[in-house]
């Protein structure tokens, strides 16, 4: 008895029991709950949700409602998932400054920790796409750029241009430039379809392909050199034409003026 009780009071016993209990509840929960919700419950997470709720009430609720139910000025956030929050707030699009054709990318005003808290709160409204882990959007295979390129040309280049320089949509809307966008945010945009961008869910574009697209975008916007010289904004023939007229023909005409001009006389009469 003594032995038993002594063993029971082993300093690590409480921890073992706690771990065991956690594993059982967690396992049961994981077995019964939808996958996205599984992570949503830990004490740290609920702390984050509380903190996120406070931030949300201050920064977001005027448009999206106190519980993210939406209003005439902002859509419902039920089911948008943490990825959408991380994208919208992490690229500075939210909180929006003014209504317009499109909410532009701007300076980020929340810290990443605050964004995570907001994301946790919004994710608690209902299941939705989850912020990807670094492994999900960081390519390790050298083949990914080429594969991503082909996927990009099929799925993305029509709006974002062959080099990710962006392009026009209807009524003042536009597909933004992908230059300098965080790989995580590119991934999240494909997951969530922000604003008028359609989404490319895992069911039709598996994670691996999103990773390949991210690899291509990273390569083409930041790593790829322009062997031929100035890229002229990678906007196609329009800027080439302007450059040809202004610098090409401009320089040639300047030279022609020199060739044809009369040589300075020794003294003017």
């Amino acid at each position: 008895m003594k032995k038993l009780s002594a063993r029971r009071r082993h300093p690590l016993a409480a921890l073992v029991v706690l771990l065991f209990a956690l594993a059982v509840t967690g396992g049961l929960y994981a077995a019964f709950a939808p996958a996205e919700k599984a992570q949503a419950d830990s004490s740290a997470q609920s702390l984050a949700i509380d903190e996120g709720k406070r931030l949300f009430a201050v920064g977001c609720s005027s448009c999206h409602g106190l519980n993210g139910q939406g209003s005439s000025t902002g859509p419902s956030l039920v089911g948008v998932g943490s990825a959408a929050v991380d994208f919208q707030v992490g690229t500075g699009r939210m909180p929006a400054q003014q209504p317009g054709a499109q909410i532009p990318r701007k300076k980020v005003i929340y810290s990443q920790a605050e964004i995570d808290q907001l994301a946790a709160f919004v994710a608690s409204f209902g299941p939705g796409p989850v912020v990807p882990t670094k492994d999900q959007y960081t390519s390790t295979s050298p083949d990914d750029v080429a594969k991503g390129g082909e996927l990009f040309r099929t799925n993305c280049a029509q709006c974002h241009n062959f080099a990710g320089s962006g392009g026009a949509l209807t009524q003042g809307k536009y597909a933004p430039s992908l230059d300098g966008v965080d790989p995580k945010h590119i991934y999240e945009a494909m997951q969530t379809g922000p604003q008028n961008m359609p989404s490319f869910p895992d069911s039709t574009m598996p994670e691996a392909q999103k990773k390949q697209i991210v690899a291509f975008v990273r390569h083409t916007t930041s790593e790829e050199p322009n062997p031929g010289g100035l890229a002229l904004g990678s906007l196609g023939p329009v800027t080439e034409g302007l450059f040809g007229w202004i610098f090409g023909l401009g320089a040639l005409i300047a030279v022609a003026i020199w060739v044809a001009a009369h040589t300075t006389k020794a003294k003017k009469s």
Partner: protein
């Protein structure tokens, strides 16, 4: 050029009004005063300036030679894939930059040397040359016409009408051979443009819609509201010899629109639970139209900005397209995969004369 080190006595006198070609006090004030008297350049009167110009010209030719040597050296030295950072151009090919610049300098300096030579050392006397009227005088004209008439009469072209007419006839017919030879440039259109690869599908033998990204068939629940998916018919792969021709007609754009947003019942009947399969080929001139705005349900063509409302049967709401995007009737098979059971009801792509609807 400045006058600093030029001896004053070598400079020409400034002209005064007495030089004869200035203002005539009476008569026509606007009369042509005639060619101005030639003014010497510094190089014309100052041997030192001329020598300097000569050295400048030679220097440019020497720079050109050096640049050509640099061109050959760059060609040998720089590996073709070497990338260097050059402000403000960015990361560029060292070879392309070096070759282009050395070639440019080599050529430019030859030109600059030659022009500098012409401008400073060759005579710059402006001289007039007479023009002669382009038209021949009447005598020549009469002579030529006479000759022509003689020739024409000798040929009997006007008199022997049978020869003339048959010759014109034969000359007119002979190019037809050339036209006939062009026949085999291509097949006749027949009904090729009316159908696509989806015509193989029948209710008995449907064709699955294959996801362009994954090369796999799709279930209805894979297509979420607000998403955009591209599809091709089952069995069509990149290795197909006719892949380009087939995908140019068969490519599909799949969207799912929430039931409350659907505006056209005919269109939603062709779809499956709000999943609509439209042709990806614009009805204007055939660009792959796929700039889908998921909130407005508008699809914009990147080439000429025709805009279609996919929630309203792909009606044209803006731009130069003349008719809606054709829609493919889809449903699911017993395993739940999206299938087509027939072709588009209307020809896909740009309109053409024989297109009936």
């Amino acid at each position: 050029m400045s006058h600093d080190n030029m001896p004053e006595n070598k400079l020409p006198e400034a002209h005064d009004a007495s030089h004869g070609h200035d203002v005539a006090p009476h008569g026509d004030p606007f009369a042509d005063p005639g060619l101005p008297v030639h003014q010497p350049r510094r190089t014309d009167i100052d041997e030192r300036a001329a020598k300097r110009a000569e050295r400048q010209v030679s220097l440019m030719f020497i720079v050109s030679m050096l640049a050509t040597a640099g061109f050959i050296a760059s060609y040998v030295i720089f590996p073709i894939d070497k990338i260097v950072y050059i402000f403000p151009l960015g990361h560029v090919s060292a070879l392309n930059f070096a070759l282009g610049l050395t070639l440019g300098v080599a050529l430019f300096c030859i030109g600059a040397g030659a022009v500098h030579w012409a401008r400073t050392l060759m005579s710059d006397h402006e001289v007039p040359a007479e023009r002669h009227p382009i038209e021949a005088d009447d005598e020549v004209r009469a002579d030529v016409i006479e000759q022509f008439k003689t020739g024409a009469a000798e040929s009997g072209f006007g008199r022997r009408k049978m020869i003339r007419n048959t010759m014109i006839g034969s000359m007119a017919l002979v190019p037809l051979s050339g036209v006939v030879l062009l026949r085999d440039l291509g097949p006749l259109p027949e009904t090729k443009l009316d159908h696509t690869g989806w015509q193989e599908a029948t209710p008995a033998q449907p064709i699955q819609l294959i996801n362009m990204n994954t090369d796999l068939p799709m279930k209805a629940e894979d297509i979420q509201v607000g998403s955009l998916t591209f599809a091709k018919p089952e069995g069509l792969t990149e290795d197909d010899e006719q892949f380009q021709e087939k995908i140019a007609k068969d490519a599909l754009m799949l969207v799912r629109i929430a039931p409350e947003d659907l505006k056209d019942s005919d269109s939603s009947d062709l779809g499956f639970q709000g999943i609509l399969a439209y042709s990806k080929i614009c009805t204007h001139v055939g660009c792959p139209i796929s700039l889908y705005e998921q909130q407005t349900h508008h699809a914009l063509c990147p080439c000429h900005q025709s805009t279609f409302d996919l929630a309203d049967g792909a009606r044209v709401i803006f731009g130069p397209a003349g008719h809606p995007l054709p829609q493919l009737k889809i449903t699911t098979d017993d395993k739940g995969f999206l299938i087509a059971t027939g072709d588009f009801s209307k020809p896909v792509g740009p309109s053409f004369w024989e297109r009936s609807a």
